[in-house]
């Protein structure tokens, strides 16, 4: 990717043609993924700390557990009072990786403090590679997490395994510093040819349930702006932000929402509620395809349907009507002041939906309007790992929601093949 980046920019500038972007992405994908092989892909959904796979070791000095994360399901949690290196260590088959290039990626977060050790500024929670050469000298690579950041951070690094390397280990660990750190979605890939591995020595994926990595260059399609973490439909979700697509969505959100799916929801039903209704452009909202909107529920719409009010009424409504998707419209006008716990209220509405098998979507007032409310809502969206739609250009909102439903069909419900042609009506709003 580094090699081709300058070419990318020149070509993109010259062509200035959006329709060629997907083609170009496929080309890039061919270049970067053609020879890669996934050695490990671990999402911790079925990881048992008491029985780790044979090539995975757990180091002590702290608590290494698998916990539930509201956004990502099961994740690895390392809690330590400091003074040790607790975590997981993956030992790679040197015969297989020697001569190749390792690429390792993980998402991590460290919402609390990391106690900095004055004379050891490197002592932090890390994704770290330790390679030992024939002379016994260690070489380190990887990346570290910053403390006091509740958001998930992506750590990625590469390492060329030289011929003199005798052993390679990759670890997720806290190094000496007291902290609480979470990791998810570890992926270790080998690019390029290594020495041929002896038969039977290749470590299997730590979680056999996780599909093998993408070898299909078509894996990267559409408007993808980031490299997918895996080749599942959820992993291949396009990354979207308000400034590029008018919505918040992506592989991590898709993966989190996929875990929320429960049997019993009425397929292809969408419920639109919230204090921001009525929203003129949604009056005649008719989602395309099989999607059907439930009739507006009076008690769940209008100025009185504040988040706190919805917390009290939504669960019983969801229990009775079982929609598959719930879209919350926040107020784009009005004078309501957010409560002190507004962000938690929005977060908990998303949690209620997920707990009851519905996927939440939030309509967020445009920047510059309802600033306080918008800030709280976006914090709630962030905490809940939920998708959101920008209500900036009201006329595009129904199309954005329709587009999001199409993405749900492809990447979460998997009712539509990911690579199926996009119906003309559901073009991404910013492609129009």
């Amino acid at each position: 990717m580094v090699v081709t980046s300058s070419v990318d920019r020149r070509l993109l500038t010259r062509m200035s043609c959006r329709s060629l972007i997907p083609v170009f992405c496929i080309f890039l994908s061919c270049v970067t993924h053609a020879a890669s092989e996934v050695l490990y892909s671990e999402d911790f959904e079925k990881f048992d700390v008491s029985k780790p796979p044979k090539d995975v070791a757990i180091s002590g000095g702290g608590d290494v557990t698998v916990v539930d994360d509201p956004a990502r399901g099961k994740v690895l949690c390392i809690k330590t009072a400091g003074g040790a290196y607790p975590g997981l260590t993956f030992t790679l088959d040197i015969n297989k990786v020697r001569g190749g290039t390792l690429k390792f990626t993980v998402a991590g977060k460290c919402p609390g403090e990391v106690a900095i050790i004055a004379d050891k500024p490197w002592a932090k929670p890390k994704l770290v590679l330790v390679a030992k050469d024939k002379a016994g000298k260690d070489t380190y690579g990887g990346g570290h997490l910053e403390g006091n950041k509740p958001d998930w951070q992506d750590l990625t690094a590469t390492f060329k395994v030289g011929d003199d390397i005798e052993s390679v280990q990759i670890a997720l660990r806290a190094e000496l510093a007291a902290c609480e750190v979470f990791f998810d979605g570890l992926k270790i890939e080998l690019e390029g040819g290594g020495a041929p591995a002896a038969a039977g020595t290749t470590p299997p994926p730590a979680n056999p349930a996780t599909p093998a990595a993408a070898k299909d260059p078509k894996a990267v399609a559409g408007k993808t702006t980031t490299k997918p973490l895996d080749n599942t439909p959820a992993g291949r979700s396009p990354k979207k932000i308000f400034e590029d697509g008018g919505m918040i969505f992506g592989p991590e959100i898709a993966a989190a929402l996929k875990k929320a799916i429960k049997p019993g929801a009425t397929p292809n039903t969408i419920l639109v509620i919230g204090p921001g209704l009525p929203f003129k452009e949604m009056d005649n909202f008719k989602p395309i395809g099989k999607w059907q909107a439930l009739p507006l529920a009076k008690e769940l719409t209008g100025p009185t349907a504040t988040p706190a009010h919805l917390l009290a009424l939504l669960p019983s409504f969801l229990g009775k009507n079982k929609p598959e998707v719930v879209v919350f419209f926040a107020e784009t006008t009005g004078t309501r002041k957010p409560t002190n716990d507004e962000r938690f209220d929005w977060e908990d509405l998303a949690r209620i939906c997920k707990r009851m098998g519905a996927l939440p979507v939030f309509g967020v007032p445009a920047a510059g309007t309802q600033e306080e409310l918008r800030k709280d809502l976006l914090e709630g969206v962030n905490l809940a790992f939920a998708p959101a739609v920008d209500l900036k250009a009201p006329s595009t909102v129904p199309k954005r929601i329709a587009h999001l439903l199409d993405l749900f069909d492809r990447h979460i419900f998997e009712r539509t093949p990911v690579d199926a042609p996009v119906a003309g009506v559901i073009k991404a709003p910013d492609e129009e």
Partner: protein, 447 residues
């Protein structure tokens, strides 16, 4: 025509000159400062606003942080005083064989005179002296001190002693309404001054507007008994409740609760979905024994999906369950697994408490049980969670159930790290007792 005196003109000219010289408008300089909003003084007995402070030394332990030089004698050695504890004055001056006690009234929010005329501030106390002598009261404020003496001629009987703040003086110093007394010293000087004689003190009462505290004393003692009877501690009773809880709960329900009484219903959230039914069973069984009559009990639910359980469910489904049941009480049972939730799990407890109050229900929180054999780190995390929740509940006036005390007498109360059916029954029984107590002291008292 009225003549303007030269002095007035001169004063005006000076003011104007100063304003012009300083470049500021005279109007702003002369503007009177805005009146300070003074909060009403805090009184120990809301119904007895004349009482600034009262101490009968019952149930306070041997030492109090706001008193020095003396110790509490738990057993009153000299009947016929009705109560048990009194204060034994400590030795102070070897030459005069003086005994004393130092009291720091600000530490117990006793502010005086603080604007009240000194002749309206009275002190009352009962003393028992082995030998007749003098009781001296000395009050100190930032700018000085003043004192007064009271001769006690009776020996070895409880004798009332009175002082009036206006009578305290020391050379040029006298009490002033603007003073704020920071330290009170009560001395006993025996008549002979040959050896230290025993001296005891009880019913220390500071009043306003009442010259003689003995008139007020019976009412004060009654009010105190009511408060003492209301106090519950986790160590002794398994749950806590105090006058502070009472006031905070009343204030919270006054602000957010409905004007009329809610349903006599109780909502219970367990730490696991299967706990709710057992808690309801335990509450239902315990209620008649405690005369907690007319109540219905139900467990938290996820609509159409079954029982709710765990802190996450409690937090998000509490409002919907309160809307369903219109419950008056919410029992929230926590567990060690709640302490392991990502982020700050105590925040979830806070949200559950706040949401209960917002819907006019009174929350009661049962702390996680103690789990034997935890690793040091796990134990530390659990302790941290318990401390955070305890502090939170303390600030919000929410009663806390110490699960360890609740299950002490239960047979096999634990099932691994969670409570067994027997453990849940024991917690439910204690929760019912707490509800009965709160009903008596908050809900019915409010009405």
């Amino acid at each position: 025509m009225r003549t303007i005196p030269a002095f007035t003109l001169l004063a005006f000219a000076c003011t104007l000159g100063t304003a012009v010289f300083s470049g500021e408008p005279a109007k702003e300089k002369d503007a009177p400062p805005p009146p300070e909003k003074k909060e009403p003084p805090k009184r120990p007995f809301p119904a007895l606003q004349q009482v600034i402070w009262y101490e009968d030394f019952e149930g306070v332990g041997e030492k109090m942080s706001y008193m020095e030089g003396a110790k509490v004698a738990a057993e009153n050695p000299f009947p016929p005083m009705k109560d048990n504890a009194c204060l034994e004055l400590g030795e102070q001056d070897k030459n005069n064989k003086t005994r004393w006690v130092v009291v720091k009234p600000l530490q117990v929010s006793a502010k005086f005179p603080d604007g009240t005329a000194p002749n309206q501030i009275g002190f009352y106390m009962n003393v028992w002296l082995e030998e007749s002598g003098t009781i001296k009261l000395k009050c100190a404020h930032k700018g000085g001190d003043y004192e007064d003496n009271f001769m006690v001629s009776k020996e070895k009987v409880w004798t009332p002693v009175f002082f009036k703040l206006a009578d305290l003086r020391n050379k040029a110093n006298r009490a002033d309404a603007a003073n704020l007394i920071e330290k009170m010293e009560i001395f006993y000087v025996p008549r002979e001054k040959k050896e230290f004689k025993k001296a005891y003190l009880d019913d220390l009462l500071i009043t306003t507007g009442v010259p003689k505290g003995d008139i007020l004393l019976p009412a004060v003692q009654k009010a105190r008994q009511q408060i003492t009877g209301m106090i519950k501690t986790t160590a002794k009773d398994g749950y806590n409740f105090s006058q502070t809880n009472q006031e905070t709960l009343k204030a919270a329900l006054k602000t957010t609760g409905p004007a009329k009484r809610r349903n006599k219903a109780v909502l219970a959230f367990g730490s696991r979905p299967e706990d709710a039914a057992e808690l309801v069973k335990g509450l239902t069984a315990a209620a008649p024994k405690l005369k907690l009559t007319g109540y219905t009990f139900s467990g938290g639910e996820v609509p159409e999906m079954g029982p709710a359980g765990g802190l996450d469910d409690t937090r998000v489904f509490l409002p919907a369950n309160l809307a369903r049941t219109d419950a008056e009480f919410v029992l929230i049972l926590l567990s060690a697994s709640d302490a392991k939730l990502p982020g700050r799990p105590a925040d979830s407890v806070r949200l559950a408490i706040d949401r209960s109050f917002e819907q006019g229900a009174i929350p009661i929180v049962a702390l996680p049980p103690v789990i034997p054999g935890l690793a040091d780190k796990e134990k530390k995390d659990l302790d941290g969670f318990v401390n955070a929740v305890s502090n939170l509940c303390g600030n919000k006036g929410v009663s806390v159930i110490d699960t360890a005390v609740a299950i002490k007498s239960a047979t096999n109360p634990m099932d691994g790290a969670e409570l067994s059916a027997a453990g849940l029954d024991a917690v439910a029984a204690l929760a019912a007792a707490a509800m009965k107590h709160i009903e008596t002291n908050v809900i019915l008292a409010k009405r």
